[in-house]
Structures are given as C-alpha cells and as structure tokens.
C-alpha cells in the first residue's frame, strides 16, 4: 500500500529566499528610518534649528562616546553599573522562577497574591530606596535590591504563565511514556514553558537595567547613571551625551541579542504560513 502524504509544503529554497528577502527588507526599512532620524537631528543641530549647545549633533555624541571608551575614564562606573544590574538580573531570574513555580504549585497562595501581583507595577519602587539603605547599608546593595524588586515579579508572572500553558496532553503523554516527575519537568514542562520563561528573563534584564541606572541617576554616588547626572548638573553636555550614547548602544545591542534569541526560540514553534 502506498503511503499517503498530506502536508503543508516543506519550505523550498525559493520560498526560503523569498522569506529571507522579506526579512532583509524590514531590516533595511528599519535602518533607513533610524538613519533618517539621526540625519534630521544632525541637520537640526548644525543648522541651528535647535539649540546646538543643549543638543549637540549626533556625530559629536558618537565622537564623545568613542573618546570616553578609549580613555577608560568611566570604566569603574561602567563596571559598577554592570555588576549591580547583572547581580539583580541573576537574583531576579532565580528567585522569580522559583516564586513562579511556587505560585503554580500552590493555587491558594496564588489566589491570595493575585491582586498584589497585578498592582505591583503601580508601586514606584524607587521610593523604597531610603528603606533599602537602612536595611542594606550605604553601598551598592540597595541598587541591586532595587533592580531585583523591579524585575522579580515580571519573571515570576511569566514563569507562572508558561507553566499554566503547558498543554495537559503533553503531561498525559509523559505518563503514557512512564516518565518520572524529574524527567517530565526537565524534558516536557520546561521546554514547553520556555518561551514564557525566556520572556521573563528578557524583561528581567531590561527592568534591572532601568532600575539600577535610574537609581544611580537619582540616588547614587557612583555608576553610569550617576555620571550622566553629574555631567548634566555640570553642563558638560558632550560627556553627558557621550555616556548616553554608550548606554543606548549597550542596551540596544543587548536587546537585539535577546530579540534574536527569542525569535530563534519561537521560530520552530509558531505555525508559519507557507505559500
């Protein structure tokens, strides 16, 4: 008997090339929009349409950023910011994940905490900074705690969402295949919830950086955010814009890397409409 094959066509080389061209076209358009905006700002500043002292041309910002990077003047501050944010991310991801699993396992606790979790981001965590200094001392830990507090709930909620969305049929399949609890979690539950967990990690990184740099800007005596604020207060606009440019490039690159990793993760899972 001949086997019967009913399928969407597997991507051919031609359809793959078409898809690649569409992707490149989007990237090209995006780059063009950014380039045009920068060009407009450059022109506006150089032609005097906007105050060129308050807003230096983007080309000067880039040069200033390059000088800062080469001189290494702020490497201690950059290190302080990165270490505080990195630590906050690690803590938020680990504890957020465990908290999410706990909420999933204890529905009663979840029911109690649900309204608090929903309104969590309405609380401006920066107001807790004095309290954190009292609790943790006048050092970098209050900033780490700020980053952690800002990120941990996003991680927990996304973990919870991921675990809740693991299709029951996959867990029944695990039982059919005589899988133990540990293997079920490792081989089915985690991979099935991974897109949500990854979104949680992505948000944790973003939120931690926002909180740490924001905290430094307003409340700290060292770090990237503090140096931007310091340059701003001393009317040192080239330094301020240079630091801002460095920060934008760093955060932009990080976000791009995370986005690429996320896309790769989803690529295999989402049903693609193939012409």
């Amino acid at each position: 008997m001949t086997a019967i094959v009913i399928a969407h066509p597997v991507p051919t080389r031609r359809s793959g090339m078409k898809q690649a061209w569409l992707t490149y076209r989007v990237i090209l358009l995006r780059t063009a929009v950014i380039a045009l905006s920068v060009l407009m700002l450059e022109l506006a500043s150089r032609m005097g349409w906007i105050d060129s002292v308050s807003f230096i041309p983007p080309s000067k910002m880039v040069l200033s950023a390059w000088d800062i990077l080469i001189a290494g003047t702020y490497k201690t501050d950059i290190f302080l910011t990165l270490s505080a944010a990195g630590l906050a991310v690690i803590l938020a991801v680990v504890f957020g994940f465990l908290f999410g699993v706990l909420l999933f396992k204890l529905p009663r606790v979840r029911r109690v905490l649900d309204p608090l979790l929903l309104s969590y981001y309405a609380v401006p965590v920066f107001v807790l900074y004095p309290l954190l200094i009292v609790l943790l001392g006048l050092n970098r830990w209050p900033l780490v705690a700020l980053g952690f507090l800002f990120a941990v709930v996003a991680m927990a909620v996304n973990t919870l969402n991921g675990l809740e969305r693991v299709p029951n049929v996959l867990l029944r399949t695990a039982r059919m295949l005589h899988m133990g609890r540990v293997r079920e979690v490792w081989l089915i539950t985690l991979p099935a919830s991974l897109p949500f967990v990854f979104t949680g990690i992505k948000l944790s990184i973003v939120y931690s950086f926002i909180a740490v740099i924001g905290g430094e800007f307003v409340l700290s005596g060292a770090g990237f955010g503090y140096q931007i604020a310091y340059a701003y207060n001393n009317f040192d606009n080239p330094t301020m814009y240079g630091l801002m440019m460095l920060l934008l490039v760093f955060v932009g690159t990080l976000n791009l890397l995370l986005h690429t990793a996320e896309q790769r993760l989803y690529q295999r899972r989402v049903l693609k409409e193939i012409a």
Partner: protein, 287 residues
C-alpha cells in the same frame, strides 16, 4: 522510575482473513468499572461512567461510540491506567491496572501531542529513547515507523510545518515505535476533515494488520467505527454504560471499499437506532 518495556509485536499470520474469533484470548478485562468525579464547582460527586463490563480480545479492533459526554474518553483513561476506577476492576494481560499505564500500552490522544521543539524524527523517537535501546536500533525503529506513516521525507521538519493530519500521524508513529500490544486511540482523527479521516482510517487499519496490536478506538463517528472495527461498543448517555456490543463480521483485509458492502449501511442504521435516543437524552441534559 520505570521505563517503557519494549516487546516485539506479536505478529499475526498474514493469511488471516476471518474476523477475530469470539474465543480469542482476553487481552483486557473490565469488570463493573465506574468513575465518579467530585465536581469542582459544587463539590458534589458526579457519576461519569459505568458500571461497565466488557472484554477486549487479543488482536481485535474495538471501537466505542456514544453520545457526547457519555464517558468514552473516561473509559479510555481507565483502560490506559491514566485514572483509577472508583469501583470495579480492570485487568490487562491478567494484571490489574491501577492508576499507572501498564507496559505494552500506548495512547494516542485527540489533541495534538507533538512536542513543538522537536523535529518529526525526535518526536517519534521521544518515548523509545528512554528505554535504553542502542541508538542504531532506535533509528531503525523510528525510520520504519516514519516510513510506515508516510513521514519519511519529513523527518527533519518541525510540527509547526505539518498539517493536523500529519501531526497526528507523528503521534501515532511515536506510539508505534514503542511496539505496544494494546493501542488506545482517543478520537485521534476528530479534528480532521472527512477525506483525511478516511485516509487516516486506512492507515490505522494497515497499522493494525501489520503490528497485530489490539486497538481500542474512541470515536464520535459511526461511519468510522463501522468501517474500521471488528466490534463496536455502543454507549448510553451519561453515566455511560454499554447498551450493546455489535460484531461487524468484516474480513481482516477490509479497507474504505468496505463501505460499498450492503451490510455497512445496515450496521450504521442499527447503531444509529441505538444511539439516537441516547443522543437526544444527552442534548436535553446539556441544555
């Protein structure tokens, strides 16, 4: 932790063309089995199934039809060991089934159970990889199953690139690779269009003939049950019990052309005659 025990197919002699004999060896015995749930919202007990008493003969194709919500899938869960009976007993190959899927039993569910992060080959190999078999034997089994299910050229493709019917065939291939002696199919073609269902039915018959497994199919479709089965269990509305078990008398080499047989229509009418009142009852309960 246990792993699936691999036992070769009990091959059926190729010349067999007669229906499964009524004195064939009993493969599964269900005696007075019931299932009573506690309703989550009210906390009251809900009698979902039974008491049900029947036997599956070794190597037969048995289908269960019944109105919506009569407990067909619950019955399959009990036989599979996915949930324990509230009362009564279930035996597979003489051993009691108590809340755990016995070795030699595979289940194909109605929902898409493909792992989206694995390609077709790895999906099919997923169960057997945990058995400790050498990789070359796993590859041999999986290649055979994929070839059998018409998926050989899709081994490296991800489930998201396949149609619903193909994804369901990946799940059947995964079950087939385990070489089960009892295959439980819970409306595996429920979400497919009529043409694909017919083709999948033929594939299932081919699988049944080739492997010699006992198959229990849960289905909404009277046509499908009549076409594929040696015997059909007709269930009442909830709590489901068997009103009758109908022998089709088809030869072993049946296929979709069996629908041309005059007995086909008679069997359909007979089963619908039994189900009609029950379906009306089920609708009244729902509304």
């Amino acid at each position: 932790m246990t792993t699936a025990r691999m036992v070769p197919f009990p091959r059926r002699p190729t010349a067999v063309s007669a229906p499964i004999a009524s004195d064939a060896k009993i493969h599964v015995a269900i005696k007075e089995a019931t299932r009573i749930f506690t309703a989550r919202d009210t906390g009251r007990p809900f009698h979902a199934l039974g008491p049900v008493t029947f036997e599956l003969r070794e190597g037969e194709f048995f289908s269960v039809v019944g109105p919506s919500g009569c407990g067909k899938s619950t019955l399959l869960d009990l036989v599979a060991g996915l949930c324990p009976p509230s009362s009564g007993t279930i035996h597979f190959e003489g051993n009691p089934v108590i809340g755990e899927v016995p070795d030699g039993v595979a289940v194909v569910f109605q929902e898409d159970a493909c792992f989206p992060w694995l390609n077709v080959f790895d999906n099919a190999a997923f169960g057997v990889r945990r058995s400790g078999l050498p990789e070359n034997e796993i590859k041999e089994r999986v290649d055979h199953a994929l070839h059998f299910m018409g998926l050989a050229s899709f081994a490296g493709v991800y489930p998201s690139q396949l149609s619903g019917g193909m994804r369901q065939r990946v799940c059947i291939a995964r079950a087939m690779v385990l070489r089960p002696r009892l295959m439980l199919l819970d409306e595996p073609f429920g979400a497919l269009d009529q043409q694909t269902r017919l083709l999948m039915g033929e594939e299932t018959l081919k699988l049944w003939r080739d492997t010699g497994s006992t198959i229990m199919l849960i289905t909404h479709s009277i046509d499908e049950a009549v076409l594929l089965s040696d015997r059909i269990g007709v269930m009442s509305s909830c709590p489901g019990t068997f009103i009758d078990i109908v022998e089709t008398g088809w030869s072993h080499e049946r296929d979709s052309q069996t629908a041309m047989d005059p007995r086909y229509g008679a069997l359909q009418a007979k089963i619908w005659g039994m189900l009609r009142e029950e379906s009306i009852k089920a609708l009244r309960v729902k509304s």
